[in-house]
Every structure is written in C-alpha cells, then in structure tokens.
C-alpha cells in the first residue's frame, strides 16, 4: 500500500512541479511595486504552511505513540520533524530575501517571524532530544516534548502579537494585495508543497525504519 502511494505521489509531483513553476514565473502577474522579488512569496508561504503542518503531524503522532507505544508512530513523528525543520529553514531563508528590498530590513520581530523562529528552535530541540538514539526512553521523551512544544506554538504567537499590538508597529503587515491570479498560484503552490511533503515523509519514514532495523540486526549479530 505504502509503495503504491509513493509511486502515485511521485508521478503527481512530476506533473505538479513543472506546472507550478510555470504558474509562478509566467502565469502570475509581476507585482507592480515589488517587482520580480515577490515571486519568492509563493515558495515562502508554501514552506511555512508545511512547517506548521509537519508540526501538527509531530503532535498527533506523539500522542499516538504515548497511547499505544507503536514504534512506527515515533518514526513518523521524527520524519515529520526533520522535514518540517527543512521547510521552516526555507521559510526563514526566503523571508529576508523578500524583506530586505521591501521592508529595508532583514529581520523584524513581527509575531509571525518570531513564532516561526521559535518553531525552528523547538524543532531543533526535538531532533536533538531524539539524538539518533534508539533507546525506548528517548522516544518517550521526544513524544512528551513534541506535545508540550506544539501547545506552546499558539502561546508564542499570541503573546508576540499582543506585545506588538501594544507597542507601535515598526513595519506594518505584509500588505500584499493579492490579485485572483496570484491567489490561485499561491494555493496551487501549497497543494504542490503538500504533495512534496507527503512524498518526503514517506521516504524519510522508510529511511528511519531501515536504519533502526540495521541497528537491531547488528546488535543481534554481535551477541
């Protein structure tokens, strides 16, 4: 079942990715004031979406692991965390590329930016906690941390927003008036990235499971 899904996913991606690139660079109109740099927006938003989605998967898989202790759930959570880190890193890297020419600053403590950065830190902490270790207790701890960290995300966002709403906002919101064409391309990118995420998740999940199997076999052989 998993193999069939992977193959299907692969061909969907082969179809969607070229269309998406065409849509981003040729179909979507060039933004009047921002110019060509605005194109990074389609990658940026889609990566941010995947970063958040991946964390939801970590959260659910962590609860499932604590509930019935299936190793697969732990592998799924770890795979999702790794891919989420990758996409959040993309978000954090593409953001400044756009922000510097538009806002004239590489970074600002906007609630969304702050939350994304804290999310990145929590992902890194989660992966460090698993630490490549295969011991049962590491899985359990990672699951506990995954749950607590996920609950922390909205708290970070709302406290950061609240703090900003009291103080004067240095840089106002993104202020992108999206035309219908742009909005369509944005949603298309999100769909493409979601397929990319599930494909990578499947690959990484298998990779982690195989690595664990090798470790187990090695341990059995050395006895």
């Amino acid at each position: 079942m998993l193999e069939g899904w992977k193959k299907f996913n692969f061909w969907v991606l082969m179809l969607l990715v070229p269309i998406n690139i065409y849509l981003i660079f040729l179909y979507a109109p060039v933004e009047k004031t921002m110019g060509i740099v605005q194109k990074v927006f389609y990658f940026h938003v889609a990566s941010a979406w995947i970063g958040l989605l991946a964390f939801v998967v970590v959260f659910i898989a962590s609860i499932a692991y604590l509930a019935n202790r299936k190793v697969q759930m732990n592998h799924l959570a770890l795979a999702s965390a790794e891919i989420g880190t990758l996409f959040i890193s993309c978000t954090l890297l593409t953001g400044p590329l756009w922000a510097y020419p538009i806002w004239n600053t590489w970074w600002t403590w906007d609630p969304r930016l702050t939350t994304t950065l804290v999310l990145w830190f929590m992902y890194v902490a989660y992966i460090a906690l698993q630490g490549g270790g295969t011991a049962e207790n590491r899985r359990r701890f990672a699951a506990v941390y995954g749950i607590v960290a996920f609950i922390n995300v909205p708290l970070v966002f709302f406290s950061a927003r609240w703090w900003r709403s009291i103080h004067p906002i240095v840089v106002s919101g993104e202020g992108i008036g999206l035309t219908p064409k742009m909005r369509f391309v944005m949603f298309f990118s999100i769909v493409t990235f979601s397929f990319l995420y599930t494909y990578l998740l499947g690959l990484r999940y298998k990779g982690i499971s195989l690595a664990e199997r090798i470790n187990r076999l090695k341990a059995e052989l050395s006895q």
């Binding site: 804290v118 830190f121 701890f141 749950i147 708290l155 406290s159 609240w162």
Partner: protein
C-alpha cells in the same frame, strides 16, 4: 487528598533540607547570578547606554541563565544510589514527585532572586526613578519564577535520564519559555518605568500560562519517569 499533599510536603522538606545541608548548589547559582549581573551592568556602563531602560531585560536574562544551573541539580542528586526508585516507591505517584521538585526549585529561585535583584538594583542605580510599583514588581518576579520552575522541573526530569543532559537542558528549555519571557518583561517594565498600559491582561496571561504548564507536566510526568 490531604494525604497526597502531605507526601508532597515530605519530599519538598527533604529536598529543601538537602539544599541547605550541602548548600553548594544554591551558593554556586547565586555566585553565578551575581557574576552575570555584574558583567551586564558593567558592560552597559562601558557603552554609556541608559541601563535603567534595559533593567528588566538584564534581570530576566540573568535569571533565565542562572535558573539552568539551579534547576539542573534537582533530579541529578536522586541518581546517586538509585534514590529515584526509592522515591517512586515511597510516593506512589509521579505527580507528587513533580510537585515537590517544582516547589523546591521555586523556593531556590526565589531565594536566589532575593540576593541578585537588590544587587542589580544597586549596580544599575535604578532606584533614582522614584515611581516604582513594588507590588507588581514582586508579583512579576514570583510569576516568572513559577513558570521557570514548572517547565524546568519537567524538562529536567527528561534530560537527567539522558547522557548529554547538560547540553540538552537549555536547548529544550529556552524555546518553551518565550511566552513567559515576553509576559514577565512587560510586567517588570511597567512596574519600573510606570508606563500606563493596560497591564492586567499580561498578569492574567502569565497566571494561565503557569497553571497550564504546572498541570500539563502533572499529566505527562507518568511518561517521563517510567520504569
């Protein structure tokens, strides 16, 4: 129910006694905190920046960093001679151990602040300002320490069972503390600088944040101290 809290109290008293008999944990934390406060205040003096504007930032960065030292000890001492197993047997409930350790860490942090905060006060010369809301200031110190102790105790229960505990603990701790950091700095800043902002919201936010992160570990601690 009273039995439950009686057991919490017993473990708490044991930990506090231990804290004062060995004394090295509390003492080294305080010395580290004094050192931090000194370095911060001095560095600000060297740059000729107005340190009273940055007081709450310096204060909380010092407390956060020192708390890593203070809290890291709380479970470490139970590892010697398998005291942890005895504690589990004696208490019968992991929530009891969490609560007792949390209260002990909170006490240690408050004692630590009792020394460090006046010192920072003197170093930065902030007392010249005059219109300070003492109640709010002390209240925010308490709320900040509560959150720190609760999250720190839970994470220390995790990291102490792993080989790379010292490195992992701050990495796990600091991202979770960001909402707390925002809240307490708002409160201390208002208490010191007397900015008339609608503040009660932040106090309620801190209280609910702290209750959440005290109850959540109580539920999850069964998974932390297993087997």
């Amino acid at each position: 129910m009273s039995n439950y809290f009686h057991r919490v109290l017993l473990i708490y008293v044991k930990d506090i006694k231990d804290e004062f008999r060995t004394f090295d944990n509390l003492l080294s934390t305080i010395i580290f905190g004094v050192m931090l406060v000194f370095i911060f205040s001095f560095a600000f003096q060297l740059t000729d920046l107005a340190v009273d504007q940055a007081f709450s930032a310096v204060l909380w960065v010092s407390i956060f960093f020192s708390s890593v030292l203070a809290i890291q000890r709380s479970f470490a001492k139970e590892r010697e001679n398998n005291v942890m197993d005895a504690l589990l047997l004696a208490s019968g409930d992991r929530g009891i151990i969490f609560l007792a350790k949390f209260l002990c860490n909170l006490t240690v942090l408050l004692l630590f602040e009792l020394v460090v905060v006046p010192l920072l006060w003197i170093f930065t010369g902030i007392s010249a300002l005059g219109h300070i809301q003492a109640g709010l200031f002390i209240g925010s110190l308490f709320l900040g320490s509560w959150g720190l102790a609760a999250i720190g105790t839970m994470l220390n229960g995790i990291t102490i069972q792993l080989p790379s505990a010292r490195l992992l603990f701050p990495i796990l701790l600091f991202p979770l503390l960001i909402p707390l950091l925002i809240g307490v700095i708002q409160c201390t800043n208002t208490a010191l600088l007397g900015v008339s902002e609608p503040l009660s919201g932040w106090v309620y936010f801190l209280i609910s944040f702290n209750i959440l992160f005290t109850v959540l570990p109580l539920v999850l601690f069964d998974f932390v101290l297993e087997g």
